[in-house]
C-alpha cells in the first residue's frame, strides 16, 4: 500500500480540479457530453494516472505498462482531459472535441487517441476485455495490473457477470475494478431502475474481494488501489460512492446531467465554482 501524506494529497487534489476544468474545456468545445459520469469518476482516474499506474506517455504501447479500461466509455471527457494533463497529447486537441474529424469522439477510440486502451461505449464490454488483458499479462509473467472503471447502472448488463465469474475462476488478482456508484443513471435512481444492491455482496458471491470507499477521497482511492490484490488469488473491486457531476453544484446528484447540453452561462458558472474549489485547497 502506498500511503498518501497531506502534501501529496493536496497536490493530487489540485490536479483533480485541473482535470475537472479540462472536462469543462471539452464541454465548451463540443457543447454537449456525458458530464455527470465524467465528474463522478474523475477523482478515481486522477488517482490512477497520477499516483497508482505505471504508464509512459512517450511510449503509450510500452508492453509492461499498467492498463486502464474505461468500461463506462461515455465518461471519456474525464479520460481525455487526464490523458492531455499526463502528456499523452496536447491540450489543444481538447478544443477539437465535437468537431468533424476530431480524434476525440463521444466515446473513446484506441486507434485515434494515444493512451486509450479499448473502444468502449457500448456497456458491458470493458470487464471481459480487461480480464483478457490481465490473463495475458499473467501468462507473460509481467507485474503490470489492469484497472477498470464501471458505472453502477452498467452493472445491469449480463455480460459483466460472465466476465466477473471468469476473472475469479482464473484467479486474475492483477485486476482491480472501480464501480463508480453515483447512484443515478439516465432514467433515474439506479436502485429504482434496476436494483443490483448490495453490490459488495454480489461481487463477493462471484469470487471477488470487495471494499467500499468514498470515491472522491483521493487518499482512500490511492491507498486502496495500491493495496491489490486485497486477497491473494482473487480479483479486487472497489465500490466507490460518488456524486454525479461532482464539483458543479447545480448539476450534482441530478440524473438530468447524465448528458448535458451546456450554455455559455452554465459553463461560466461551473468554471467559477471550480476556481473556488481550487482556491480552497491548501
Amino acid at each position: 500500500m502506498q500511503k498518501l501524506n497531506k502534501s501529496e494529497k493536496t497536490a493530487l487534489e489540485k490536479i483533480a480540479v485541473q482535470n475537472r476544468k479540462n472536462v469543462l474545456r471539452l464541454m465548451k468545445a463540443g457543447r454537449m457530453g456525458h458530464i455527470g459520469g465524467a465528474l463522478s469518476s474523475v477523482d478515481i482516474m486522477t488517482a490512477l494516472y497520477f499516483k497508482v499506474m505505471q504508464v509512459d506517455p512517450q511510449n503509450p504501447n510500452w508492453p509492461q505498462r499498467d492498463r486502464f479500461i474505461l468500461s463506462a466509455g461515455h465518461k471519456c471527457l474525464a479520460l481525455y482531459g487526464i490523458l492531455a494533463e499526463k502528456g499523452f497529447f496536447s491540450h489543444a486537441i481538447l478544443d477539437t472535441y465535437g468537431a468533424l474529424g476530431s480524434k476525440l469522439g463521444g466515446h473513446p477510440d484506441m486507434h485515434k487517441v494515444p493512451g486509450v486502451e479499448t473502444n468502449t461505449g457500448a456497456l458491458g464490454h470493458g470487464l471481459s476485455i480487461a480480464g483478457g488483458m490481465a490473463m495475458g499479462l499473467q501468462m507473460d509473467g509481467l507485474d503490470a495490473k489492469v484497472y477498470v472503471i464501471m458505472g453502477d447502472g452498467e452493472l445491469a448488463e449480463g455480460s459483466n457477470w460472465e466476465a466477473a465469474a471468469a476473472a475469479s475462476h482464473h484467479k486474475l488478482d492483477n485486476l482491480l475494478v472501480f464501480v463508480d456508484r453515483n447512484h443515478l443513471q439516465i432514467s433515474g435512481k439506479t436502485i429504482d431502475v434496476m436494483n443490483y444492491e448490495p453490490l459488495d455482496k454480489r461481487w463477493q458471491a462471484f469470487g471477488w474481494s470487495a471494499r467500499e470507499i468514498d470515491g472522491h477521497d483521493l487518499k482512500q482511492i490511492v491507498e486502496n488501489a495500491t493495496d491489490i490484490p486485497f486477497e491473494k488469488g482473487k480479483p479486487s473491486v472497489i465500490i466507490a460512492d460518488t456524486v454525479k457531476s461532482k464539483g458543479v453544484s447545480f448539476a450534482e446528484n441530478k440524473a438530468d446531467y447524465h448528458y448535458w447540453k451546456a450554455t455559455d452561462e452554465d459553463l461560466s458558472i461551473a468554471q467559477r465554482e471550480l476556481e473556488k474549489i481550487e482556491e480552497g485547497i491548501s
Binding site: P63, G131, G132, M133, M139, A163
Partner: protein
C-alpha cells in the same frame, strides 16, 4: 470424392501444427473443446488451452484482451453462439478494435440438422461480413480447412472461419496455393460459372459433373473466402461465361450469392441464380435428407442450373 475427413478433427490437428509454429496461439473454449476438435491441442499445449464455460459473450471480450497482449486466440464453438449471440462483442471488441482473434464457428449451416433452428447457423456469413476489417473464410474441403487455419494464424487481424460437422470429401490438391481472398477455378468452362463455398462445394462439384455429362461446359469456382471477395475472378467469370450460379449452405439474404450480386449488379450485370436457403427457419431431420428438402443435393442443383440455362 471417396476420401472423407472429419472437419473438426481436421481443424484440431491443423491447430496443433499452427500452435507449434506460432507460440502465441491460445485456444479458447466455451465448454466446447472436445466437440470443436481441441483435445489434441489441449493435450499438446495444456497451458495454452483456456476454458471459460458457456459464456460466449465473455470469451470474445477476453480474447480481444488477450490479443492486446500479443496472444493469437482461436475461439471455437458452435457457429450461432460465436456469431449471432455475441455479435456486438465480435463487432466492437474484434472488428472496431481490430484485434488479432480467430473465431471458428463449427457445426455451421444445417449440419446440426437434428437440433433445429437454434443450433443451425444460416446467417453467420451475412452478419459477420458486415463488420469492417473482418476476414470471412468458408473452407470447401479438408484441405481448405488446414490451409485456412495456417493462413488465419499468419494473417494479422480478426478472422471468422466457418466449419461444418459431417465428414467432407477431399476435393482440392493438398499442394495448391491457398491465399485468403483468392478463389480457385476447379473446372474451366464457358457457358455458366458455378461458384460454390463451404460445405456445399462438394454438391457444386457433383452438379458440375452431371451438367458436363449432359453436354454443358460449366466453369466451377471454389470461393473459400467470402471477404475480402475475389472481385477480379468473379468479374472475369461474368464477362467470359455470361451467367453466374452460387451454391451455399446458408441464407440467400446476405450470403455468398448476395455478395456476388452486389458486385456484378454494379460492375458487370449478368443473369444470376442463387442457390441456398430462403427466408425461413428450417426443419429437423437427417442431414442429407434435409439438404434434399431444400434442393441442395448435387442432382437437384444440376437440375436447377439446367432450368436456369434453358
Amino acid at each position: 470424392m471417396d476420401d472423407f475427413k472429419d472437419p473438426r478433427k481436421t481443424f484440431g490437428d491443423a491447430l496443433v501444427e499452427a500452435g507449434q509454429k506460432h507460440q502465441n496461439i491460445v485456444a479458447i473454449s466455451a465448454d466446447s473443446s472436445g466437440g470443436s476438435g481441441l483435445t489434441p491441442f489441449r493435450e499438446r499445449f495444456p497451458e495454452r488451452h483456456i476454458e471459460f464455460g458457456i459464456m460466449e459473450q465473455g470469451v470474445i471480450g477476453f480474447s480481444a484482451g488477450l490479443a492486446t497482449t500479443g496472444k493469437i486466440p482461436f475461439v471455437v464453438a458452435i457457429a450461432p453462439f460465436m456469431t449471432a449471440r455475441p455479435f456486438e462483442m465480435f463487432r466492437n471488441d474484434l472488428g472496431y478494435m481490430r484485434q488479432n482473434v480467430k473465431v471458428v464457428g463449427r457445426c455451421a449451416g444445417l449440419t446440426y440438422s437434428d437440433l433445429g433452428a437454434t443450433h443451425q447457423s444460416l446467417d453467420d456469413i451475412a452478419i459477420i461480413r458486415t463488420i469492417p476489417g473482418v476476414t470471412v473464410i468458408n473452407p470447401g474441403d479438408p484441405i481448405d480447412i488446414v490451409k485456412a487455419v495456417h493462413a488465419a494464424a499468419a494473417h494479422v487481424g480478426p478472422v471468422y472461419i466457418k466449419l461444418g460437422s459431417p465428414k467432407m470429401p477431399v476435393l482440392m490438391d493438398e499442394n495448391y496455393p491457398f491465399q485468403i481472398g483468392k478463389g480457385v477455378v476447379m473446372q474451366e468452362g464457358n457457358d455458366v460459372t458455378i461458384i460454390g463455398t463451404g460445405t456445399l462445394l462438394c454438391k457444386a462439384v457433383e452438379a458440375t459433373r452431371i451438367l458436363k455429362e449432359k453436354g454443358f461446359h460449366p466453369r466451377l469456382i471454389n470461393m473459400h473466402t467470402i471477404k475480402p471477395l475475389d472481385r477480379e475472378l468473379i468479374l472475369k467469370a461474368a464477362a467470359e461465361t455470361g451467367k453466374i450460379v452460387t451454391v451455399e449452405e446458408g441464407y440467400l439474404a446476405g450470403g455468398l450469392g448476395s455478395c456476388i450480386a452486389e458486385l456484378i449488379a454494379t460492375e458487370h450485370p449478368v443473369p444470376m441464380k442463387m442457390i441456398g436457403i430462403d427466408d425461413q427457419f428450417c426443419d429437423t431431420g437427417p442431414y442429407e435428407e434435409l439438404l434434399a428438402q431444400y434442393g441442395l443435393q448435387g442432382e437437384q442443383i444440376a437440375k436447377t442450373i439446367e432450368q436456369f440455362l434453358a
